[in-house]
Subunit: 235 residues, 2 copies
DNA sequence: GTCTATAACCGGATAGAC
DNA sequence: GTCTATCCGGTTATAGAC
């Protein structure tokens, strides 16, 4: 989807793209379960067997979805991030945009994310296969922080993007479960939790908080170092 | 499983129990996917159709698992909790016991918890069907706190058990993904995060933290009020 | 009405011919 | 690279036994 567009045969590539495109549309329209591989194949004008030639499993069709969501977030926030310098405002607009971008998929999100919970699945956010997207997301959050005028304590700075990535994951997890109209609660939670995060960051330098700060940094490192390898930590 | 043991016919009940027992054992031995309903039925000495008479779906077999895990935790900690009064020690032993109790199921946990991520699934920790177990867990954590000699700020007290429940959920989620030998990282994380939590609680009364404290309480309420109904909040 | 069994359906995945 | 035929397992329909 965001691969170097050259080098691969064109007929095959168009077939592949068509299958993926059709599949994502059907997922959104009818849901993940209701969209059978047979229907996808038919809609894309290929046989069932051919679909499996391009995508080894139904799950693999969902990887394209994730990458799309990340690209969508970057595009949706580029303009606003270019001018805004206040950290709280930056984080808030990013998290709100995150929710906006995934919004059309809320109905399906349950069954879509279902697979993501399984660590053995390539769709797990911690998996090898998700590595590229994960690293891109963390790098993006790093920019969100560094582009602000906030002063972040030296020891917190390297871990902060990872912490924010975990936080974003949690927010989306909440959103998946959020049945309030328009997922209003998720937006409220985003606002409230961003407030708390920024305030905590502002207080982080206080001597009383030195020990907790270290403790928290320690366990965030533990969490983020988790996964297929230690490569995550220096993304 | 923890129902009033009377009132239902005994032959049927024994059949039901046998199916469940056999299923859990097979899940642990061979994994969730590899254990087919046909195998379960055969091992329990009934026909496939009969299994479906007792358990409407394969997922429903997993509900018994959850309840078992909760009962296991309570039993594993009863003795130690009876004498220990220090909050940090109490929380630490509870969280370590939580990991001990689920340990035999680590290999399977991925596919087992997979379904739990789907909000539409009865296996979701936030679902109606999980309500009883969820409320029991929160009530248990309330006792863990109240049985300690720690002084908890008045405004924090009612929300704390819910916060701890979310925290426990997160810990287990991490454990599911933890591939370190013996899941050592999960135990480390439990220790470190309990330290941080207890320290934060001790500092919570400080005037500088008043605003953050309120903000955090607010969004924890938002999260926990989420789900099938508002009944969660007064469990 | 409670329980059990057999046969079939449906959809994800695979084999192998062309 | 594309197809058809088939497998396999969760689930359902339904008939009948106790």
């Amino acid at each position: 989807m965001s691969l170097p567009a050259a080098s691969l045969s064109s007929k095959a590539e168009r077939t592949r793209d068509r299958i993926l495109e059709v599949a994502l549309e059907l997922f959104r329209e009818k849901g993940y379960e209701a969209t059978t591989m047979r229907i996808i194949a038919a809609a894309a004008g290929v046989s069932l067997g051919s679909s499996y030639y391009y995508f080894p499993s139904k799950e693999h069709l969902v990887q394209g979805f994730y990458e799309g969501m990340h690209v969508g977030l970057v595009e949706a926030t580029r303009e606003a991030l270019a001018t805004e310098r206040d950290l709280k405002a930056r984080l808030r607009l990013v998290m709100r945009a995150r929710l906006d971008v995934v919004a059309p998929y809320h109905v399906v999100s349950g069954s879509l994310f279902r697979t993501a919970a399984d660590p053995h699945s390539p769709l797990s956010p911690f998996s090898e296969a998700s590595g590229p997207t994960r690293r891109e997301s963390i790098a993006f959050l790093k920019e969100v922080v560094e582009g602000s005028d906030a002063r972040i304590p030296k020891d917190v700075a390297p871990t902060l993007p990872h912490l924010l990535w975990l936080y974003e994951l949690g927010l989306v997890l909440f959103w998946v479960h959020d049945r309030s109209p328009g997922q209003k609660r998720s937006y409220d939670l985003a606002d409230d939790s961003v407030d708390a995060i920024v305030r905590l960051l502002a207080l982080a330098h206080l001597p009383v908080l030195r020990t907790v700060r270290r403790q928290i940094l320690k366990w965030v490192s533990t969490i983020v170092a988790e996964g297929p390898g230690a490569e995550d930590i220096d993304a």
